[in-house]
Symmetry: C3
Subunit: 206 residues, 3 copies
């Protein structure tokens, strides 16, 4: 079925723009957490990418409104665009929380989560690039990889929170860091949501 999709691949191009933008955001977040040099500037840069992402999403919706034949079902294009949008939104929320909670340094577990988020975004980009091009098996394998990264993020987050409850004596600090860890973990959940849409699109068009 996918082999027969129309030549107008502009939607795929827009999705590619989107996932590349997401990777950019994930790199900035990782760098913000790793180096923590000018976090306020990192946050502003991530916010800018988030606005750029919104603009791409908007282009996709506009295009849907003026295109008669689309390579996938209209609602799937819409759904995928909005799930991808959610990933960068969450990356932005993570950066915001770090700034808003005025944290002083970044514990290693938060850096690990930043690393996993970036890995996951890279795999999402690969999976989206395969839409309409490759065998379903390869796309499924990438979705499995995204799920595995989400599981790993979940494990790191759980351990980080356990450590917090063991070591943090200030309840206010505990509340802040618990939420930051959980928000970081949620970014990988959003990658998994996008993978689930990809999987269901492929299943539907099988």
């Amino acid at each position: 079925m996918f082999g027969l999709i129309p030549k107008d691949e502009k939607f795929f191009k827009l999705f590619k723009d989107m996932t590349e933008n997401i990777i950019e955001g994930a790199k900035l977040l990782k760098d913000m957490l790793d180096n923590f040099e000018n976090p306020a500037e990192s946050q502003r840069n991530i916010k800018e990418l988030e606005h750029k992402g919104d603009a791409i999403t908007h282009s996709i919706i506009k295009k849907l409104n003026t295109t008669f034949v689309t390579p996938l079902d209209r609602e799937d294009i819409y759904e995928l665009a909005s799930k991808l949008d959610d990933i960068l939104d969450l990356i932005d929320v993570c950066a915001q929380r770090v700034i808003m909670y005025n944290v002083e340094s970044i514990p290693p577990q938060a850096k690990s989560l930043g690393f996993i988020i970036l890995q996951s975004c890279i795999v999402v980009d690969k999976a989206v690039a395969m839409l309409g091009k490759q065998s379903n098996e390869q796309l499924f394998a990438l979705c499995v990889e995204i799920n595995a990264l989400e599981n790993e993020a979940d494990r790191v987050c759980r351990e980080a929170i356990s450590v917090l409850f063991d070591e943090e004596k200030d309840p206010f600090q505990l509340i802040k860091w618990k939420e930051i860890y959980e928000t970081l973990e949620k970014a990988t959940d959003k990658c998994e949501d996008a993978a689930n849409i990809l999987e269901s699109v492929v299943v539907k068009n099988a």
Copy 2:
């Protein structure tokens, strides 16, 4: 496409009943937060509206089961009804939290959020009223407005929580108010979810 919808506009009438009921609930919540005179009674009144909302949702589903031709896809009618239902559910949860946490007074940021929720419900009502009637552009503009209100609620909520961490010395109070602010903000998220469904319905039928 929407110009050609069948004359049986009963679904649109039921959706209108639903959004008017939601506005009623949002007004009660705003009044509860602004005046805080008899919060327990406000909460009971909101709960009553929430039951009324459930009944309307149920009528829509019943109607779906007995109607052969519907003005929109069956699953979209179902989806939209359930997202609208979620808005009033959240308004009810907000009122419940205020009662359950036995708060003594309402800070200005919570009042601002009550105001934004009401604005957002009014725009949702306008957007739903346009289904099947007006140009897509106007409906899209209303969805943009709902998104802007959600962003504003998000900003107010973030600032309110920052203030909490700066000023509140009692961790129990901080936990309570953090959750109330977040629940108020979530009500505007639910308006945005409804806007997203409206947008996708319009895209689908473009």
Copy 3:
């Protein structure tokens, strides 16, 4: 419509396997909370069932990829499988939280929630068993029952948290138990989500 579904009922068989596995998990969780004898072992057993559930979900998706005619829409089968999967995921998260937070004993409200979760999973199993077999009215009645159980869980959870705020003097303990109660309640939300899918599938095929 459902009366005319193809004879190949393997999907229904797989869904039945899934809901029976979910009931198994809910029983283990209830037992873990009621007796609290070897919670770490209970948690491991629940995790095992969760992996088994993933395998069944995977079989359903594989089957979707190789089956030409399905008894329901492909996307509905996919959606229902993923919502059922979420129930057991949440049961697993509940067990994990109990272990991770190193709790010493289980308060009666958590036991009540464990009981309600099991009831709800039993009704989900009944509702899924009716897909393609019985009258819509009966399936709707079961969905109403699942909603009622969710409401009851919500009430128990709210009361439990009120009690926490009244009696717990340690903010760290309050944070832990608030989250455990909320996670238990969320498991019944996931049952409701599955009921909503069932309801929408029936509406769609009415």
